[in-house]
Subunit: 390 residues, 2 copies
């Protein structure tokens, strides 16, 4: 298994580490950020622009593609790489996170520990989860076997075992039961994966266990005992940033560190610095492309207009006469030709180009951040680098 995949740690210092994940579609230098192409497209951005901004890896969401256009359809089109025109490394999640997040509120609510939203989840039992399709309202059943079949149809390099993403507000008893169900589902996922394995994919196990140290440790030990290629830390990470890092630390206990470790759904700059300090290799989040659609441009500390945000909002009137680029020292295609004033104007005029231009900057920003982090690790100046970016 995993003959076409490899993970090498090429430098480490304490928990900090720099590595390389090799896949059939190329290598990913870690720490790395994985950009979300939820519905087989990074919103508004072409694969050419992803390459131009030095993107190494993207992900798509099984839940969305399962509902529409369906994984068999994409398989018939030659798989997700061919369908969307991206020939680099690719990751798909299992669909569990979205189904259970939708069941208990929005994805953002869930990961941030807020309660709200309307339930799309109909029922859950040991077989799997039944939910209402966001696309056509039809009832759909996702089981561990089905999730893996869908991910095999899609054909991403890196795929994830199906789990129950335990809601934040669950009590410890439910969280434990749910974790044990996830473990049974992960075994079934592995069995299904092995049945269809053609050497083109490698699989992540997922650690659950909520905010409970003993459960997180047990889950980490379970996942490490199974023949997964890599590990993802899933489930709720608590209700505030400090708790998030505590929970990640709990999960790191008992983990097989020879495997790549992914932290699901986290992409804030300071969160990334906190994560790499605990040994996280990869991150993903819709944040960089989502805020672009609302005029949010990621900037280093010295360019911020507020201590509480890692981006500037180009819709603000203070940028109306600002002829400088988003970041004067950024080499992205947008910063080379567009001023903040022009982007402010485009946003006010509802011109589509604003979204593309800011997203291109944000993607390049994240890739520059990760590159700077990798460099600083080997030079043992992570703290200095952090002060530039946070």
């Amino acid at each position: 298994m995993y003959n076409n995949f490899e993970f090498s740690v090429i430098f480490s210092c304490g928990e900090h580490r720099r590595g390389v994940v090799t896949t059939p579609h190329g290598v990913v230098e870690t720490p790395a950020f994985i950009f979300c192409g939820t519905k087989a497209s990074v919103k508004g951005i072409s694969p050419h622009q992803l390459r131009e901004t030095k993107t190494s890896i993207i992900l798509s969401n099984t839940y969305h593609l399962f509902s529409h256009p369906g994984s068999e359809y994409i398989k018939n089109r030659g798989g997700l790489h061919k369908f969307m025109g991206w020939d680099g490394p690719m990751f798909t999640d299992s669909g569990g996170f979205q189904i259970f997040s939708l069941g208990h509120g929005s994805v953002a609510d869930e990961i941030k520990g807020r309660r709200s939203g309307q339930s799309m989840l109909s029922s859950i039992d040991d077989n799997g989860a039944t939910f209402k399709s966001y696309w056509d309202g039809s009832m759909q059943l996702l089981t561990p076997e089905k999730s893996i079949q869908v991910q095999q149809d899609l054909g991403a390099d890196l795929i994830v075992a199906f789990d129950e993403c335990t809601p934040f507000h669950s009590d410890k008893a439910y969280t434990e039961q749910s974790m044990e169900r996830s473990h049974r589902w992960e075994k079934r996922s592995l069995d299904e994966f092995i049945r269809g394995d053609d050497g083109s994919q490698a699989m992540y196990g997922i650690i659950q266990g909520g905010v409970h140290a003993d459960l997180r440790k047990r889950s980490a030990e379970f996942v490490s005992s199974q023949p997964f290629f890599a590990t993802a830390i899933g489930g709720t990470l608590g209700s505030h940033k400090s708790q998030m890092m505590e929970v990640v630390e709990m999960a790191m206990n008992g983990l097989d560190k020879s495997r790549p470790i992914h932290l699901l759904g986290i992409g804030g700059i300071s969160d990334i610095f906190n994560g790499i300090a605990l040994g996280i290799d990869t991150f993903d989040c819709v944040h960089p492309t989502r805020i672009a659609r609302h005029g949010g441009a990621l900037v280093k500390a010295k360019y911020r207009d507020s201590a509480s945000r890692e981006h500037i909002n180009l819709k603000r009137s203070q940028y109306k006469d600002d002829d400088s680029p988003i970041e004067p020292d950024c080499d992205c295609p947008s910063c080379r030709i567009f001023s903040r004033a022009y982007l402010h104007y485009l946003l006010k005029a509802n011109e589509l180009l604003a979204l593309q231009a800011i997203a291109v900057h944000n993607i390049r920003f994240m890739n520059r951040l990760m590159s700077a982090i990798r460099f600083s690790l080997e030079n043992q100046r992570v703290a200095e680098e952090r002060s530039i970016w946070c």
Copy 2:
């Protein structure tokens, strides 16, 4: 005047001709198509993508930019080239067309000879036109002097005299009065232009006269008698395609053929072939980028699905399983990686990337069309070329 500009006809045969317009921002090989960047942006497309698709010239609309963000604002940002990051040749219209089109129906209604729409035009007299701003509803006055000042602020290479775009449904008596007013306005435009001329711009006169041969001829003679750099054919072109070409032919009579000749607002493929046969050098139209936003992809004759349209509608279910690119023989960035099936899916899923991908194809398509036309002119095989594209 016009020391930094030049127009050379490098080949001609009958009325067909191939030429080069030299501007301070580069040359435009003619026949050429001018892409609309109405509000200082070609919708959803970056200047880099315009270059990549071999675009030589774009236009922006004085009416829109006058209303928002204002020409003085753009002047303070260094002019339109710098503001929008386009360093190639650029054209602005005078604002007249939009004001009068809005006064009597939509731009499309006007040029197609249909009557409808709500009036934004408040009043018109010999001084100028008063209209309601589309941006904030305020009352605005545009005079010949103001239109030229605005276009000087914007700083495009090629600018246009202010005229009254006579409505299609006007009778001959009004069309004649209106044409004479346009001639007075064009003289005032020239005076104002000369007053502020710094050598960076050259000016087009506009021919009016409706569908009346004697008026069109008089207008052509008037415009040719004035020291304009080039000539634009404006006003209504009649209610159907055959009348359009008759009207253009009327306008060509009495015209100074040593100047470049632009046909305003026309961009259909067969219309372009008809236009070059009458000696037209440049065309502009929102069509290629507008239809892209509705799933319309321009294709050569052999790829069409309907004899009545010059594009295919990728939203149609027949493209759901079509793994070929929009055009198998197209070298655009979209045709190199995206299938019709993928674009169909993106349109159905409301993914932004569809708009960019199809617009990039349509722009490249128009530039390939114009390049093929230029080549076919010198090789005297325009008819064969036409059969490929029409």
